[in-house]
Amino acid sequence: MSEVRIIEIKESVFADNDRQADALRRELKSDKVFLMNLMSSPGSGKTTVLGRTIDGLKDRLRIGVMEADIDSDVDARTIAETGVKAIQLHTGGMCHLDAEMTRQGLEALDVRDLDLAILENVGNLVCPAEFDTGASANVMILSVPEGHDKPLKYPLMFRVCDAVLINKIDVLPYFDFDMERVEEYIHMRNPDAKIFPVSAKTGEGMAAWTDWLEARVRDWNEV
């Protein structure tokens, strides 16, 4: 019978992932690749926003996309139609991506020749917020039908995001969605968050968003 010992760890369950994420972020910085982690609920229009974003930037930046899904490759096919490199990551039932899975995805995508790698995270406002993927920026999409109280219900998601896109503003007249309120709630959680009201369907507001993103990418990729 071997000796029984106690090993003290005293560390957050997330600490290990945070370290891997920081290491990945440093590597991406030195490789001059900007990684955007895009998060939202299912049905907020992530893939459509992404398609519009790519259309706006693909002549100016070299872009690649990783589509994370529990199963299926519906989204990767849609994105591939825009002409940029796209791969599908299957999380095998997991509700989020962590830094190690993101690293494997980046290797599969082969990002060396890219300026901007986009990770479309699993549609979910809880779990992806807790796991740092190593991204240069976190962006989330909140769509009008979801309601303006979401920042109160999912505070962590709004806290970790650098930018929030309010999508589907073309249907604003049909919903009790208060734009001033949502901005107030987001800034309560995160005073630095940039907010972009957009409609991926009509294209309204998309230029302000893509200009911001392009500036962030260029800034990150400068020596």
């Binding site: 010992r5 005293k10 369950v13 989020h96 809880v126 779990c127």
Partner: protein, 114 residues
């Protein structure tokens, strides 16, 4: 919300610690879990039971969870109160300038090994 995911994270982490310390068997993993963390203890136990059966290092490994009560501090009156019972509004002065001082933890405390 993501108990299975975090179960794997804990096991991966413990496996690495085990390797560094020449451990052949992990008897017990002790966690500290805040009352208002996003993890549900009963789900965690179910996931744990399922997952440990798949890795030899963890055969019959016990999961011990110590609950850390959630406590909120009120800036308006300086008192603290139980978060679960009263939420964001201070039960003493009715103020809303409150913040959580503990109860959000999700830590690996220690492991018992052979």
């Amino acid at each position: 919300m993501h108990e299975l995911g975090v179960t794997f994270h804990i096991m991966d982490y413990v496996e690495r610690v085990a390797e560094e310390n020449d451990v052949t068997r992990v008897n017990k993993v002790a966690l500290e879990l805040g009352e208002v963390s996003t993890v549900i203890e009963s789900y965690l136990h179910s996931c744990w039971k399922w997952a440990v059966a798949k890795r030899p290092l963890f055969t019959d490994c016990e999961l011990e969870v110590e609950t850390i009560p959630a406590v909120t501090f009120c800036e308006d009156c300086g008192k603290t109160y139980g978060t679960v019972a009263h939420g964001k509004t201070c039960p003493y002065c009715g103020g809303g300038n409150t913040f959580l001082i503990q109860g959000n933890e999700f830590n690996i405390k220690e492991i018992e090994v052979e």
